[in-house]
């Protein structure tokens, strides 16, 4: 894995499995490292607190066994109970500074001198000092000031412990914890791997269904998928159905156009073969018919809905107003008044360009045949939008309307009847 492959763009473009793994690693690794740091710190705090507690007991015992002789000397009535105070350089020491610079030391100090920093704790206070002891061992001293009966001055009593024991214990705990967390991380990643495999199973099945589709073994994505994937499958199936319908429509339109052009072509061919030569009027008339057919089929092709619906839909009224403004300009000569009104919330699931084509053809037709007024309305009704284009022109007789809407049909001659477009 190169560094560049971890950039956000590469994450987005890489496989979903790799992406999920990387995200899991990016989450698990810092979480476990932070956990390890926190647990190690907790362990060290606990070990130091335990050492402090034990050393406080030793300090209390030391204070209890101190006595003052009749000549004013400070002595120990008996040895302290912990045998490490008697074993040389054991790591556990005590020291008492009495009046007249007389000092008592534990046997464990052996021949080492261990000076405490200058300090005068108040009654009841325990002060803590860090020192360097025999063999440069890090030491921690707890000391208090005592007023012994018969003593002429306060006595400094201190117990000292080797802190390296705590450090060694903490390091050992940290190693064991690190190992445990590594095992946990491996377990979590294994769980992620299983989860990813199971989670992406539906996508693998969808890929298989797509492969079947490409191979022609099916004509839609078959199978049941989880709720999160099923909408995508449904949309894809819908898209393919629309695509098939569009292809069918395109074939039909191509066939219609070819059929519509054959007749004028035949007329032109016959005219060319006529004994007197080609009549320019015939050619012009047939060329005009062919141009009309081409324009008509182009308009129908443009008005056909595109495969992709626009996201969030298209607000209808602004598009209608745009078209109305343009059509009115194109019919300036006739002074056509085009009024647009309706529900401002009206939206359709269609591309704005498709809506322009559909509305443009209708409004332009109405403007072409109106006397002076075209009225366009857009109303939200039954979960859809009804766009009505009305004009004050002659309209189409009721008995000819089915001809207009029939495939290949049309109506271009104005006549009297209810006005509509």
């Amino acid at each position: 894995m190169t560094r560049s492959s971890l950039t956000p763009s590469s994450l987005a473009s890489s496989s979903l499995t790799r992406r999920l793994f990387l995200l899991a690693i990016l989450w698990i690794a810092p979480a476990l490292i932070i956990t390890g740091i926190i647990l190690t710190d907790l362990f060290r705090t606990h070990a130091e607190a335990e050492l402090s507690r034990r050393m406080a007991q030793h300090l209390d015992e030391l204070a209890a066994v101190l006595e003052v002789t009749p000549d004013g000397a400070v002595v120990l009535a008996r040895d302290l109970s912990d045998p490490r105070f008697r074993r040389p350089l054991s790591g556990l020491y005590w020291r008492v500074d009495g009046p007249g610079d007389r000092t008592l030391r534990s046997r464990s100090l052996w021949d080492q001198a261990l000076d405490l920093p200058a300090d005068t704790p108040k009654d009841g206070e325990v002060h803590r000092h860090t020192l360097t002891g025999p063999n440069h061992a890090p030491l921690v001293a707890w000391e208090r000031s005592l007023h012994l009966p018969g003593a002429v001055a306060p006595v400094r009593a201190a117990v000292i412990a080797d802190a390296s024991d705590v450090q060694a214990a903490t390091a050992g705990f940290s190693r064991a914890l690190g190992l445990s967390l590594a095992v946990l991380a491996a377990g979590l990643l294994a769980a992620v791997a299983v989860q990813v495999r199971l989670g992406l199973g539906p996508l693998r099945r969808m890929r298989g269904a797509l492969a079947d589709l490409r191979a022609g073994r099916s004509n839609r994505l078959e199978g049941a998928f989880p709720g999160e994937v099923q909408p995508v499958v449904d949309d894809l199936n819908l898209l393919m159905e629309e695509n098939r319908a569009m292809v069918e429509r395109a074939r039909a339109q191509a066939a219609d156009l070819a059929h519509a052009l054959k007749t004028p072509l035949a007329v032109i061919a016959n005219a060319a073969a006529a004994p007197g030569g080609m009549d320019p009027a015939v050619v012009a008339a047939e060329a005009d018919r062919m141009r009309h057919q081409i324009e008509r089929h182009l308009a129908r092709a443009r008005a056909a809905p595109t495969l992709l619906h626009s996201q969030g839909g298209t607000v209808v009224l602004p598009v209608l107003r745009q078209i109305a403004r343009t059509v009115a300009r194109l019919h300036t000569e006739r002074g056509v008044d085009i009024q647009v009104d309706g529900d401002a919330r009206a939206r359709v699931r269609a591309d704005p360009v498709d809506l322009q084509e559909m509305a443009g053809n209708l409004i332009d037709n109405a403007a072409q045949w109106c006397t002076a007024l075209v009225r366009v309305t857009a109303v939200v009704a039954d979960g859809g939008v009804v766009i009505t284009v009305q004009d004050d022109g002659p309209g189409i007789p009721a008995d000819r309307r089915s001809d207009v809407l029939a495939r290949g049909g049309g109506w271009t001659r104005p006549c009297r009847g209810p006005a509509w477009a």
Binding site: R302, Q322, I323
Partner: protein, 220 residues
């Protein structure tokens, strides 16, 4: 009347130029957008026929530049781009009319005539001034219903004056609107054409405003 024709297709440009010239217009040709922009900014045209898919610079940007510069010449967009989205764009850019290819030459000529009439505030296709009538559709001129034969340049001078009735038109203005850019212009010839028109149409139809130009006025 003088027309700028901006069209990159040589064959169509030739056909259009012939048809417009036959209809009595003086034609300047621009095969690309830069040439069209330059001519539109520097010459006074009565109409521009503008293709959108021009090389070097597209027609829509040329039109926007004209409108931004305050050039109000009527523009007819003639293009193969026939969707309503493109029509809306063209009209919003400042076009006065829009004709999609394929088109009929008669329709183009009718739309050009309509644009010229609208620019002069005229509604009818037949222009009248006293006994003189000029049918813009056929190019036929009559005096009291009697047909009058005019040469091409006489017709151009009369047509321009009839489209601006009552307005004093200078010889320079007439020259600019009667001759194409590459024509060898001589403003003195305008006097000759006006003289001939007076002989054919009546001496009191075209009045001379001394030092200013000519004014078409119906006799009282």
């Amino acid at each position: 009347m003088r027309i700028l024709l901006a069209e990159d297709d040589a064959a169509l440009r030739r056909q259009l130029a012939e048809a417009l010239a036959d209809a009595g217009y003086a034609i300047d040709l621009a095969p690309d957008g830069d040439e069209a922009a330059f001519l539109g900014e520097s010459e006074p045209y009565d109409v521009v026929v503008l293709d959108l898919g021009l090389p070097v610079r597209d027609g829509l940007s040329v039109l926007r530049a004209w409108r931004a510069a305050g050039i109000t010449v009527p523009v007819l967009i003639l293009t193969a781009r026939g969707t309503w989205q493109e029509k809306v764009e063209g009209i919003d850019a400042g076009a006065d009319d829009y004709l999609a290819k394929p088109f009929r030459m008669e329709e183009l000529l009718a739309r050009v005539r309509a644009l010229i009439r609208r620019a002069g505030g005229l509604a009818a296709a037949e222009l009248r001034c006293g006994p003189v009538a000029l049918d813009t559709r056929t190019g036929r001129v009559t005096v009291d219903g009697r047909p009058i034969a005019l040469t091409a340049h006489e017709f151009k001078v009369l047509s321009y004056l009839m489209h601006h009735p009552g307005k004093v038109v200078s010889r320079t203005e007439l020259t600019e609107h009667v001759y194409a850019q590459d024509f060898d212009r001589d403003s003195n010839t305008i006097e000759v054409f006006v003289g001939r028109l007076r002989r054919k149409l009546g001496s009191d139809l075209i009045r001379t405003e001394r030092g200013l130009g000519y004014r078409l006025e119906a006799a009282q």
